[in-house]
């Protein structure tokens, strides 16, 4: 079975589910030979160098990554052509007979979105999903402090950032994966996601909401502490129709706090 065979089967599965393959997409091969033989598949939030080493050691030479391999959304490498980090990573992929393919745009079109499912499951929010509002979770009343502590414990992150009054009451949570942190309004108490700019209606809205007596909060998990989990869902999904080779989820992990 080649990497291209796996991708073709993913495309067929999507077609059978009524999802057309996009003509413009970042879901393409990023490195290695599409016609290379697959010994095992690793799904992950991001094909970092560290992740590639661990996947290779585990015999998973085909890496399906949600986020880029070469540090920009389109994985453009012209500006990196003489960069030692890029060259070392590319050489490692080639020397180890690895193949990297990205599964981002189409992963988010699956229903339910596995990145949302994975985050919600890890955060313990699944039972509280609103039956009528997508991305909204209604939990028994808690405080921002207690919710944030619970979230930090569940994801095991070193750098979970929170903005808002720790004592504010929380029942309505908006959650979105990765960079899709729902922007805050008065319609929810807290927004949870991966990473967000500090001028897009997240932290600064929470600061203003507190100052203006209508407290709201935001919890930023970090991109991988938000989206790694969804690629475990993708591994489970793949296993149902790719049975010839082992399929394993290997977390990229939180980059911050890494001591190597």
């Amino acid at each position: 079975m080649t990497a291209q065979d796996v991708v073709t089967r993913i495309q067929q599965k999507l077609a059978a589910d009524g999802i057309a393959w996009r003509t413009t997409t970042v879901d393409t091969f990023k490195a290695g030979r599409p016609d290379g033989a697959v010994r095992g598949i690793a799904t992950t939030g991001m094909a970092t160098f560290d992740l590639l080493r661990r996947a290779s050691a585990a015999g998973r030479n085909f890496v399906i990554t949600h986020e880029p391999t070469f540090y920009n959304h389109l994985d453009q490498t012209e500006a990196l052509a003489s960069d030692p980090t890029y060259l070392a990573k590319l050489r490692f992929i080639e020397d180890q007979g690895m193949i990297v393919w990205r599964f981002h745009d189409h992963a988010h079109t699956l229903r339910p979105d596995p990145l949302v499912v994975g985050s919600a499951r890890t955060l313990g929010l699944t039972p509280f999903a609103s039956p009528t509002e997508r991305g909204i979770y209604v939990v028994p009343q808690t405080t921002l402090r207690a919710l944030a502590a619970d979230v930090a414990r569940r994801v095991g992150g070193h750098f979970i950032r929170v903005c808002g009054d720790p004592e504010m009451k929380v029942t309505r949570i908006a959650m979105g994966p990765g960079y899709g942190v729902p922007a805050l309004t008065q319609a929810v108490d807290v927004s949870i996601g991966g990473e967000a700019p500090e001028s897009g209606g997240h932290a600064e809205y929470a600061m203003d909401a507190q100052a203006l007596g209508r407290p709201r909060g935001v919890i930023l998990l970090g991109h991988m502490m938000s989206e790694d989990w969804g690629m475990r869902e993708v591994a489970d999904w793949l296993r149902a129709f790719v049975t010839e080779v082992p399929v394993e989820w290997i977390a990229a992990g939180e980059p911050f706090g890494r001591r190597t």
């Binding site: 991001m46 970092t48 160098f49 560290d50 986020e67 880029p68 540090y71 920009n72 959304h73 500006a79 990196l80 960069d83 030692p84 980090t85 990573k89 402090r145 944030a148 502590a149 979230v151 930090a152 992150g157 070193h158 750098f159 979970i160 950032r161 929170v162 903005c163 720790p166 922007a183 309004t185 008065q186 990473e195 700019p197 500090e198 001028s199 897009g200 209606g201 932290a203 600064e204 809205y205 929470a206 600061m207 203003d208 909401a209 100052a211 203006l212 007596g213 209508r214 709201r216 919890i219 930023l220 970090g222 991109h223 991988m224 980059p255 911050f256 706090g257 890494r258 001591r259 190597t260």
Partner: protein, 290 residues
């Protein structure tokens, strides 16, 4: 778990700047300078052509308002706006948007309580909000970099040819992190990766948006990247992948630009001698749940 926010921590800089303003000027004469006059001077002193269609400009208030005093800030939060009004400064220069998006229309918040309350605050206090970001950051050498370097006590260490690379007295990563935490009054917004005992001699300062191209171009000359807002699919994995000889200390967009707001106040003061001009700190927005 790190300590949750205290108002005292938020306000430390604000208090010191207000004291400085009231003691320096003596008894101020009533101003007759309009916003339009201040902006005309600013554009003249800038040393750069004014860009068509810039995000910079008037976001609230009127250009013919008489200026009673000027506040500069990274972000005109409700707290900053109140402090500006309370200290008699009705003209606020902000680097970041005020109403939660670049268009300053609140996005989908036309009926949102926080958006409306913030608009009401601006109106009731007769404040004028003027965004000054694009042109400020276009000045060479970059003002935000120099101000951040000064805030870290490194004014003597900026490399002549290095744009934003500083050659500092040798230290270790863990000591550098502690230095940055203390100097920039960080709370939960401080994040880092790297070997704690890694020797550090060179540091790249990249306040604001820590983009990939400038990081790739300059990081070969630096051991540590001190970042404002690095994307976690760009500069963060790039430095992570570079291996154990490189590290990141990320401080957040607002905190990284805060010293620059002080530099901006000093620059505006240089051409508005009849007015009191001071920076107002926003502070680290985050506390840590970890």
């Amino acid at each position: 778990m790190a300590q949750p926010p205290s108002r005292r921590e938020f306000l430390w800089t604000a208090a010191s700047t207000v004291v400085a303003a009231t003691t320096r000027g003596g008894r101020p004469q009533p101003s007759t300078v309009t916003v339009g006059v201040v902006i005309a001077r600013l554009q003249e002193k800038l040393g750069l052509p004014w860009r068509e269609g810039s995000i910079d400009g008037l976001k609230a208030g009127t250009p013919d308002a008489i200026v009673t005093g000027i506040a500069t800030t990274v972000m005109a939060t409700a707290d900053v706006l109140r402090r500006a009004a309370a200290s008699g400064r009705n003209l606020v220069f902000t680097q970041e948007p005020t109403f939660f998006n670049a268009a300053e229309d609140g996005a989908n918040r036309a009926a949102d309580g926080v958006y409306l309350a913030k608009k009401a605050l601006v109106d009731e206090r007769h404040l004028v909000v003027w965004r000054f970001s694009e042109h400020w950051n276009a000045r060479k050498p970059n003002e935000s970099v120099g101000a951040l370097g000064n805030a870290l006590g490194w004014s003597a260490y900026r490399m002549a040819d290095g744009e934003a690379v500083y050659k500092i007295p040798e230290t270790r990563l863990d000591a550098l992190i502690q230095h940055v935490r203390t100097r920039l009054h960080l709370r939960g917004g401080l994040r880092w990766l790297g070997r704690p005992d890694m020797p550090v001699r060179t540091v790249l300062l990249s306040p604001g948006t820590t983009d990939l191209p400038s990081t790739v171009a300059r990081m070969p000359r630096a051991d540590v990247l001190i970042a404002g807002e690095p994307r976690e699919w760009e500069a963060v994995p790039y430095v992570l992948d570079a291996g154990p000889q490189k590290a990141i200390v990320s401080v957040g967009r607002i905190v990284s630009l805060e010293p620059g707001a002080g530099a901006c106040a000093a620059w505006i003061r240089s051409f508005t001698p009849e007015l009191s001009v001071d920076a107002m700190a926003v502070g680290d927005p985050y506390w840590s749940a970890s």
